[in-house]
Symmetry: C2
Subunit: 229 residues, 2 copies
């Protein structure tokens, strides 16, 4: 076995995603999804965040803690390729990797300096479940990290298709404004597994204490109920 190194959990991310279903496939896709990064007690130190508000974006390095510990797979089937083509795990951002570590670029919305469990970070666009352990937070450095001309392999030729979302006003009215806006963002990215295309199939997506029921047909997602969890 290879040698290993231990990493401390320095924080946990709290989001509206108690289930895996609905979590955006990459960070930044759902900009109206906000999350809160709460440091573990020994890392609650305002000094450690001095100057962070000058950065619009941050990197989170975190653990896929819901991946079953069945070992890694050399190849995986990315949803982006329809879920039926195998690609090497190091050519994907799949969780089923030797070290189940995630990397997400999130927008820094604000620092809650004076929260009882603070300082905490409010971030937008995270693709992470509620309770996700965080190992590191780094500033996004545009001069080193932004490569807009990079070739993105199979992701270049497959731009994500967005759905139209039909969210009846009477159902939307059951939700706080912020939850509604986040849900619109989540739903338009098509949370369904890529191999499911049955227009009669009913889905339930849990977010922020609500369960949103929908069907998808002809490129439109129709919300037909909103339940309180």
């Amino acid at each position: 076995m290879s040698p290993c190194v231990s990493m401390q959990i320095i924080a946990r991310l709290h989001s509206g995603f108690t289930d895996k279903f609905g979590i955006p496939r990459q960070a930044g896709l759902a900009q109206h999804v906000t999350s809160r990064v709460v440091f573990e007690p020994e890392y609650r130190n305002p000094d450690a965040l001095r100057g962070i508000e000058g950065f619009s974006h941050l990197w989170l390095i975190w653990g896929f803690d819901r991946v079953h510990k069945t070992g890694w797979s050399p190849t995986v089937r990315p949803p982006r390729l329809g879920g039926n083509e195998r690609v090497g795990v190091f050519a994907t951002r799949s969780p089923f990797r030797p070290n189940p570590v995630g990397l997400s670029c999130v927008a820094l919305v604000r620092v809650e300096w004076d929260a009882p469990d603070g300082p905490a970070l409010i971030v937008a666009g995270a693709d992470m479940a509620d309770g996700t352990p965080v190992f590191d937070i780094k500033p996004y450095l545009p001069y080193a990290d932004a490569r807009p001309d990079a070739a993105g392999g199979y992701t270049d030729s497959l731009p994500e298709r967005l759905l139209a979302v039909d969210f009846p006003a009477a159902l939307a009215a059951r939700l706080p404004e912020e939850t509604y806006r986040a849900l619109l963002d989540i739903l338009r990215h098509d949370p369904r597994p890529s191999y499911q295309h049955d227009p009669a199939r009913e889905y339930g997506l849990s977010y922020d204490g609500f369960n949103v029921r929908f069907r998808v047909s002809d490129g439109t997602l129709h919300v037909f109920d909103v339940l309180v969890l």
Copy 2:
């Protein structure tokens, strides 16, 4: 203490930097610096790299294994701020962080599929010492990772000043072409500690088995000797 998680070393990066002195301050600054990522025997699997050649850039998540294990510091003094202003560690890419993990965007030059210790990756622009442990390799996804308009905090107002490099042809002739080009790249980024400005001071930078001796005055770096190590 916070709970911790163990990470396997999946690979080691081999570069010309046997010393810390001269390592670029961020990935991507010295594009002519190439390195070789060699997988640990149990991860030498060509399947795991299938499709990776479609990506021009990769993320390496790696360990700062030369940081003394003296614990983390809430504030650090980034070289970019002249080394005399303190900033929160999470607002920097300093190695002196709770988990000494580095994040580098490197260009993928080629895959050595058939090397005896392969498949191995040749990458350009790494800011890592020879032997650095690697925990993960991910494709750079421009649609998720490229944020050219991001605000870069204190790094925005302080563009790096490049030095002119006076490298006499007779000394350059002692070096392989690739080593010479990498050294030009390294030297123009001014490897000196930011608080040193003595034009008489002599420096020796080791790279790829050579030691390059230089002085810096008036924005020009003068190479005066090249020794074989």
